[in-house]
């Protein structure tokens, strides 16, 4: 890639950092003692995790009858939470794969934590699949394994089975991508290690990385190939998730726009979650020179665009429900907006479509507090979107005598809390023990995008070319 960069572009690394500054700034928190803030935050997430684990254990012990489901609304928070977490898990791969293919240099400072977040979010989603099963020890029945029951196979016509393939593929590729990207940085930590334990563990996981030109060439090929593989995965996962609903004949679920609209919504909520996490990380780890206002602004723009795409999809659905002239379809949508769950619908509309429009103002999208607040608002809205789609479509059955409402029990809530505990525990472990910014890739783009890039270094690398 050429290093010629137009002067009108914003700097992506500020503060006149040299290559060794990058190494030092990022390795600092891995090598140092855990800070007090980290200890407190980690302890809190462990407590949440423990409480959630109790609720999940109770759910498994007693069966899913402890949830608030009834015979009309037979699917509610369980699947809402699942879709929500899978959606959040979209940003990492989008950033690492799609933005790599589009040669967006700003991805280098945020891809590591975004990918980590993706993996943890997908694990949280998976926990709801297991919670769903009621009998998690039979989870392997979801796989098409040869079995002792004659010709009893999984139902290949079911989108739920497609989900098993789509999500497990996504998890494997994301994990691989994330880990491969970590290898050069792990080797850096290994080479700087002062204790035996650190040298051993980081050495083990850096797979004997030497940093030779050949290894780097392979690293780049590997990144491009994995990016090529993961790009269709970004689309396929939420496409398949949307089909859990869209292949059915429930009014409000069966609509052809679902696949791309779910994908847009997933990217939307994923970016919001990355924003939430990075706004904290950059302050706690003092990474303001790497995760700059420019990065935050870019992410806010992505949030605005995807939020608007989702908005167009909402309006399209509403319009076509009327246009179709199908009574059930029109009713489902009017009921969403004005029925007993109107508050959920307007919560979704406000948080997802209206609030991101504030980012049209540059002063708002570069304001850290507002960005942080809105990033949370977006994810609240996206949770409500799934709730609206799922519960309001189900709660008015075809038979008015079966009409019902859904109210969550403490185990619905507790299992949701479990996923937060899991997510934050894993994220804090990641933030302490692994470099949160990809040092190697930031260094690779610094020439050209760094402000006050030290002249000596620039000169040296020029003569090397």
């Amino acid at each position: 890639m050429s290093h010629v960069v137009s002067p009108i572009r914003e700097h992506l690394v500020t503060g006149g950092k040299s290559y060794s500054d990058v190494t030092h700034d990022i390795c600092k928190q891995v090598e140092g003692e855990p800070t007090k803030e980290w200890k407190i935050a980690f302890a809190i997430s462990c407590v949440i995790f423990a409480y959630g684990a109790y609720c999940l254990f109770y759910t498994w012990w007693q069966g899913i009858g402890v949830w608030g489901l009834n015979k009309t609304v037979g699917w509610a928070w369980d699947i809402t939470n699942f879709v929500w977490w899978v959606g959040i898990g979209h940003a990492g791969t989008l950033i690492s794969a799609v933005l790599l293919l589009f040669r967006q240099k700003w991805r280098t400072s945020i891809n590591r934590s975004a990918e980590a977040m993706t993996i943890f979010a997908v694990l949280c989603a998976a926990s709801f699949i297991l919670a769903h099963m009621g009998r998690p020890w039979l989870a392997h029945w979801a796989l098409p394994l040869p079995n002792a029951f004659g010709s009893l196979w999984v139902n290949f016509n079911s989108p739920l089975v497609w989900d098993v393939f789509a999500i497990s593929t996504y998890l494997s590729v994301s994990l691989l991508f994330w880990y491969m990207g970590l290898v050069p940085d792990l080797a850096t930590i290994r080479d700087r290690a002062t204790t035996k334990g650190r040298k051993f563990w980081y050495g083990l996981f850096s797979l004997g990385w030497t940093g030779s030109a050949k290894t780097w060439a392979r690293y780049e090929y590997m990144s491009l190939i994995l990016a090529g593989i993961s790009t269709p995965l970004v689309l396929s996962v939420h496409t398949i998730v949307s089909m859990d609903f869209a292949t059915s004949v429930i009014p409000g679920w069966h609509t052809t726009i679902f696949p791309p609209y779910f994908v847009a919504g997933a990217i939307f909520s994923g970016f919001a979650m990355v924003q939430t996490l990075l706004l904290i990380t950059r302050v706690v780890f003092k990474l303001e020179d790497y995760i700059t206002i420019e990065h935050i602004e870019m992410m806010n723009i992505v949030v605005t665009v995807t939020g608007s795409v989702v908005g167009i999809a909402y309006l399209t659905e509403f319009f076509i429900a009327w246009y179709s002239g199908v009574e059930y379809e029109s009713y489902a949508f009017i009921n969403r907006a004005t029925g007993p769950y109107w508050w959920a619908y307007w919560m979704m509309m406000t948080c997802n479509v209206i609030s991101p429009q504030l980012f049209w103002f540059k002063s708002i999208r570069t304001n850290l507090m507002v960005s942080f607040f809105l990033s949370i608002v977006v994810n609240v809205g996206m949770w409500f979107e799934r709730f609206v789609i799922i519960v309001t479509s189900l709660h008015r059955d075809y038979l008015p005598s079966s009409w019902a409402m859904f109210s969550p029990t403490m185990y619905d809530i507790g299992d949701y809390i479990f996923s937060f505990g899991l997510f934050f525990t894993l994220f804090f472990l990641f933030a302490k023990f692994l470099p949160v910014v990809n040092m190697a890739e930031v260094k690779s783009v610094m020439k050209g995008v760094s402000s006050n890039f030290p002249k000596k270094v620039a000169k040296k690398s020029k003569s090397e070319e």
């Binding site: 960069v5 009108i8 696949p259």
Partner: protein, 453 residues
């Protein structure tokens, strides 16, 4: 690095000359198309098929199988065919073709603007070197939008079932409750307002952007760039809504009963990838003339990637729409595909297969490797396949609803597409001559000139 050698600063200002020789060729093509259309029309008026018409074969083969298929199709909850059958007149095929081409080429023209706007919005550097080519495309809107409006105004009832006499009138023999329910949206005035309103906004925004772009060549500076980012953003917001609305209006409402929420994005996907193919062909033509030497294989590679990626995107959208309708199997939805597959004496079946082949499988295989995306001949092959494939895609969207079993590929189809294509080429070439082929003061030009992947 290797990239540096491709660029020689001496070429920075460069003009395309639309020579009298070039003009003559385009005009000859136009006349050939026109003559073919007229002969086709003459044959149609005599009741001849006008060339190799699949319909003819279909009629002969019409046996028990066809009868069964017909019964099956009209046995659904609703039948759109009745409309097309009752009102059929041989001249309908002319208007159907004008409509088809006007919609198809409007798409290519407007996506030129969409592409340029997107480059500004995303601050893309690499494309600044070739953006003058798509920037010229929207000129054709000056022709195609009026054609759409005129055809709609005078011959709308040929194209649209919902404009047939009496369909919204209670008590009329043609009364159709479902269509009457849509008349708040589907009515002549509102349709025209949307068509002319959004059409005008497209043209105005393009004019603004184009003016600033030409001004930049003289003045330079980043102020004009910032202004263009704003115009581009405004256009994308407008286009986000209007592209879906036009997909419903111009195409989906032909099959008036049928509906699909995906349709707006599906039609956009088709327009979008076609435009990439046209951009590639235009650039390769200019390069063959010895112009645009600074657009090297790296830029072509990127355009090739876009053709590849958006061919897959189109396939994704098309297949998703099909799969969900097929899976749920609701009669009011599945009739759309049934009609194209086994309805109308099966005359649309071959096109349906061909379309998927041309739009997905072949571009996928041809453009798979890195080398193919950097080699002109492969890019040309893929671009032609994509353009042909998406013409058929639009044919499949429009013809079954308008012509029913009277459709076919004949001289009229061949002639009309030639007429439109040569008019498009003429206008775009004339527009290209008005400015340097490279936007020499574009702030990202240095990046594009050093583009190396």
């Amino acid at each position: 690095m290797a990239g540096h050698s491709h660029f020689s600063p001496a070429n920075v200002e460069e003009h395309f000359e639309f020579t009298s020789e070039g003009k003559r060729r385009v005009i000859i093509a136009f006349i050939v198309g026109l003559v073919a259309t007229i002969i086709g029309i003459y044959l149609l008026s005599k009741g001849e098929s006008g060339g190799h018409e699949i319909a003819a074969a279909g009629h002969e083969a019409a046996g028990a199988g066809h009868e069964a298929a017909q019964a099956h199709v009209s046995g659904g909850a609703v039948s759109h065919q009745a409309g097309a059958e009752e009102h059929y007149d041989w001249t309908n095929r002319i208007w159907a073709n004008v409509w088809l081409n006007a919609v198809f080429f409007t798409g290519i023209a407007v996506v030129g603007m969409f592409f340029v706007s997107l480059q500004y919005l995303t601050k893309s550097g690499w494309s600044s070197v070739m953006k003058r080519v798509p920037e010229a495309f929207p000129k054709f809107l000056f022709v195609s939008i009026p054609i759409l409006a005129l055809v709609f105004f005078f011959k709308g009832d040929v194209i649209f079932h919902w404009m047939h006499h009496g369909v919204t009138e209670v008590g009329n023999a043609n009364y159709d409750k479902i269509i009457a329910g849509k008349s708040g949206y589907l009515n002549k005035n509102f349709f025209l307002i949307r068509l002319l309103g959004f059409g005008a906004i497209w043209i105005i925004l393009w004019n603004m952007l184009r003016k600033k772009s030409l001004e930049e060549d003289l003045i330079g500076g980043t102020d004009l760039f910032t202004q263009k980012v704003k115009i581009g953003t405004a256009f994308i917001v407008v286009f986000g809504a209007s592209s879906s609305i036009f997909a419903w209006d111009w195409v989906m409402s032909i099959d008036t009963h049928w509906f699909s929420t995906m349709f707006g994005w599906y039609m956009f996907a088709s327009w979008h990838v076609t435009t990439y193919a046209v951009i590639v062909l235009a650039i390769l033509y200019l390069k063959d003339k010895g112009l645009m030497a600074y657009v090297n294989e790296n830029h072509l590679h990127d355009l090739g990637k876009f053709m590849f990626a958006f061919s897959i995107f189109w396939s994704y959208v098309w297949f998703e729409q099909f799969l969900l309708i097929y899976y749920a199997n609701l009669p009011e939805e599945s009739i759309y595909f049934l009609e194209r597959w086994e309805g109308h004496d099966k005359i649309y079946k071959a096109s349906e297969v061909l379309m998927v082949l041309l739009n997905f499988l072949l571009p996928f295989l041809v453009l798979m490797t890195r080398d193919a995306k950097r080699t002109r001949i492969f890019l040309k092959i893929a671009a032609f396949l994509i353009i042909a494939g998406h013409y058929i895609d639009f044919y499949q969207m429009i013809m079954p609803g308008v012509l029913g079993k009277h459709g076919g590929y004949g001289l009229v189809e061949f002639g009309m597409v030639t007429v439109f294509a040569s008019a498009f080429i003429y206008m775009i070439s004339a527009e290209l001559t008005k400015a340097s082929l490279v936007a020499k003061n574009h702030p990202f030009l240095p990046e594009a000139l050093h583009h190396d992947i």
